[in-house]
């Protein structure tokens, strides 16, 4: 008996390896015209893995203090072998991960994958999306440059608009009344400890739920297979689907390499707490639709302050969007048309406002 067989036996006796392999061999993925959207979740997971790996490497040199943060990132970019590559991949990877996460959410929405019994999968996914946005927001401040300082000031200032607990939230996030070194250490803690812990937990739950209920098939495809069961096609998850997913990962990795080599993430100028805000302060692209909306709102809308109304509207919209599966309980399983309309509006609003903010 060879060494590999011995190892396999050893694992089988302790962890039921053969059972596991049997399960993996029998896991399948439905094949239809929308199957490409199945890659988005895996790509987001892959990018999360890249973020964890590059983040750990950055941690070796990064110093979360007002006097050391900018200099340590500069050191990483200039002195640490391949530091520029690691930092650029981490920064670009974060943006691509948020993009794939948002794309995954809309694909799940329009393919109606959240329908019964997958409501909890949707909910856990939404929590993950909020966590990913939290990663982006907290990580943006860490290089401690002018742009990140003032963007964080604007961003945290929005929480002050929340009724009753707004100011408490602001002080909690900033570690004081203003954005200072205390905010930096706080954001660092949130970015490298709290959010990764929560994200790992919810990724586990999300994967467990996906595994429990299997891949959802869009209602239109479901109807077609009901009418013509012979047309139903499936692909083995391992290795067939996995290898295809691996190809997608490779493409993403190559794209990140190109971005890092040709457009390394800028470092900017060191944050100066006493300087006036530089021109063109704006948040990252994924918060731009909210920023642009708040800019459109007048100072006063009826009895409400414009900013307060904006924050309240976005809060309500996020809550409604998260709970949409519970409204979409049509008996034919095709989903309600008005909910699709809401999705189209949300996507158009997100894209439209973001483009408007950058182009106009």
């Amino acid at each position: 008996m060879g060494a590999s067989a011995n190892l396999r036996n050893w694992l089988d006796e302790r962890f039921g390896w053969d059972e596991l392999m049997k399960f993996v061999r029998h896991k399948t993925v439905p094949i239809h015209r929308f199957s490409y959207f199945y890659f988005l979740g895996g790509m987001t997971l892959f990018l999360f893995g890249i973020q964890v790996c590059t983040g750990i490497l950055l941690l070796m040199y990064y110093r979360p203090t007002p006097n050391g943060a900018f200099e340590s990132v500069q050191y990483i970019m200039t002195r640490v072998p391949f530091g520029w590559l690691i930092r650029s991949i981490h920064s670009w990877g974060a943006n691509v991960m948020i993009l794939t996460a948002i794309a995954h959410m809309f694909s799940v929405f329009f393919l109606k994958s959240y329908r019964k019994p997958r409501e909890l999968t949707w909910l856990s996914g939404m929590v993950l999306l909020f966590l990913v946005l939290g990663f982006g927001f907290s990580g943006y401040l860490l290089p401690w440059n002018m742009l990140s300082l003032f963007a964080t000031k604007v961003g945290t200032n929005m929480t002050d608009q929340v009724p009753l607990i707004g100011h408490w939230m602001l002080v909690f996030l900033r570690g004081g009344e203003d954005v200072t070194g205390a905010t930096l250490t706080r954001f660092f803690g949130i970015h490298v400890a709290i959010l990764p812990g929560l994200a790992t937990m919810f990724i586990g739950l999300h994967l467990l739920l996906v595994q429990r209920f299997g891949m959802s098939v869009p209602p239109s495809v479901e109807a077609e297979t009901k009418a013509h069961p012979e047309k139903a096609r499936e692909l083995r998850f391992f290795p067939n689907f996995f290898l295809r997913e691996l190809m997608a990962w490779y493409v993403v990795l190559a794209a990140l390499g190109c971005l890092a080599a040709f457009k390394p993430w800028e470092l900017g100028k060191k944050a100066d707490l006493f300087a006036s805000a530089p021109a063109g302060i704006r948040p990252e692209w994924y918060f731009m639709f909210m920023f642009q909306t708040l800019r459109f709102l007048p100072a006063k809308v009826g009895p409400f302050a414009g900013d307060l109304l904006g924050v309240l509207l976005f809060g309500v919209a996020a809550a409604v969007w998260t709970c949409l599966p519970f409204f979409d309980n049509s008996k034919d399983g095709r989903g309600k048309r008005w909910i699709t309309g809401v999705g189209v509006f949300a996507l158009a609003y997100f894209v439209g406002m973001t483009l408007y903010a950058y182009l106009v």
Partner: protein
């Protein structure tokens, strides 16, 4: 022993007893305010001087808008404060009665003393502005303007020529004729008027020259500390600086240049030739931003005005120019390569920061030319060149790094492509077999 809260109780009683006293104080305050304000209120509501003079033709016309915004009106100084009389009466015989203290408008020769009645009275001025100087009149008497006025020349500037008459604004008001950015135009009203200045036989191109100078450029770009006429000539005590005092005037701002000039050989040489220090090389009103071309032996250099070929000064000027150009070129070379590396995506922030040191050394070298000694210029130039050598190497390294990154990317892309191809082949192989 008194109970602990007795004192509190007593304080409370004392508080109640002091209530009528407080009311009385308040009443006194109200009366005082009314006493102070009522005359001025009545003066505002009734001003027969302005009622008539606003309708008269020049030179008796007074613009009510100008009066209203003048610093004097703002401080409660009314017509009668300077001119006497009674502004509450519409009857000219009463309002302009000498019995009421009316004084006619002062002649030009009388104006300085007329204004000085208040402005030279420190005790009086303290009530309006404790920090305002009160030596304007005594300074004026020492000025060329004051001296000529004393000799009967009424064409020279008096207070009203520069400050205005009834519409005087505080000097920190941008609309004021003596606000820093307006001073040159105010002086130029007379000094740029060739016909007016003809009897004095002095040039009238100062304003035109100044308007093209580096000082004017700095002033209008927002630096209110940049010099204007009064900075060098004085304001109330205005006089042209003499040959010996030019360095003192310039050195109030250009401290290091003056010190270096004093330590070099030019000081004695200029003195013996009767040449004014700074002005000989830099001119006076039309001072241009100095460039490295000022020094040297090339066309446009100032040194060749005095130094001929073969003289040590000619040789030194040539070498100093070469040293400055060398450092300037080195800095430009380093900056160019670092900018290219930055555009290629390599972080060169520290090297660019170091380059600022070389720029500082160049500035020091340019200042040290006032010693006209090659050694002191070279000390700074050499220090700067050392920095540029390092920063240029950093730029070269950064460009090599950019190239290395691109090569690495191409290699890794080729490997990725091969892996992708391999995966495609594996998938085909797997899927070509019949399913279990």
């Amino acid at each position: 022993m008194r109970p602990k809260n007795e004192s509190v109780r007593n304080r409370g009683l004392a508080g109640r007893e002091s209530a009528p006293r407080a009311l009385f104080s308040l009443a006194c305050l109200v009366c005082a305010v009314l006493f102070l304000f009522v005359p001025s209120l009545s003066a505002q509501t009734k001003n027969s001087c302005l009622d008539c003079h606003s309708k008269l033709d020049p030179p008796l016309h007074v613009d009510p808008a100008g009066v209203a915004q003048s610093v004097h009106t703002q401080k409660g100084i009314v017509c009668t404060t300077c001119h006497g009389g009674d502004s509450t009466s519409d009857d000219m015989d009463v309002s302009m009665s000498p019995k009421k203290g009316f004084k006619d408008a002062p002649t030009r020769a009388q104006i300085p003393a007329f204004c000085a009645k208040c402005h030279a009275n420190a005790a009086y001025m303290r009530d309006f502005n404790p920090s305002l100087r009160t030596d304007q009149y005594s300074q004026y008497l020492t000025s060329i303007h004051g001296q000529r006025l004393a000799k009967g020349d009424s064409k020279v500037a008096v207070c009203a020529d520069c400050h205005g008459v009834h519409d005087i604004l505080p000097p920190n008001d941008p609309r004021s004729s003596v606000y820093p950015t307006n001073v040159a135009q105010t002086c130029g009203k007379c000094h740029a008027n060739a016909e007016y200045m003809q009897p004095y036989k002095i040039p009238t191109d100062q304003l035109a020259l100044y308007n093209g100078s580096v000082h004017h450029a700095d002033l209008v770009s927002g630096d209110l500390s940049a010099p204007t006429c009064s900075t060098c000539h004085g304001s109330h005590g205005a006089a042209p600086p003499g040959v010996a005092s030019v360095v003192n005037v310039c050195s109030t701002c250009h401290v290091f240049q003056a010190q270096l000039f004093d330590s070099g050989p030019h000081k004695d040489a200029f003195n013996s030739m009767g040449l004014p220090g700074c002005v000989t090389c830099h001119s006076n009103h039309g001072i241009k931003h100095p460039t490295d071309a000022f020094i040297g032996v090339e066309k446009g250099a100032i040194c060749v005005k005095c130094h001929d070929v073969g003289e040590p000064g000619y040789e030194a000027a040539s070498k100093i120019h070469a040293a400055l150009v060398n450092l300037d070129t080195s800095i430009a070379r380093s900056r160019e390569i670092l900018n290219r590396a930055e555009q290629a995506g390599v972080e060169v922030g520290p090297a660019l920061l170091d380059l600022n040191q070389a720029q500082d050394d160049l500035t020091k070298a340019r200042v040290s030319i006032h010693t006209v000694e090659l050694k002191s210029v070279n000390e700074n130039v050499d220090a700067g060149l050392k920095v540029t050598e390092t920063t240029y190497k950093a730029g070269q390294k950064a460009l090599a790094e950019a190239l290395y990154r691109r090569e690495g990317l191409i290699i890794s892309l080729v490997i990725s492509l091969l892996v992708l191809l391999g995966i495609v082949l594996v998938i085909r192989k797997i899927e070509s077999k019949p399913q279990e």
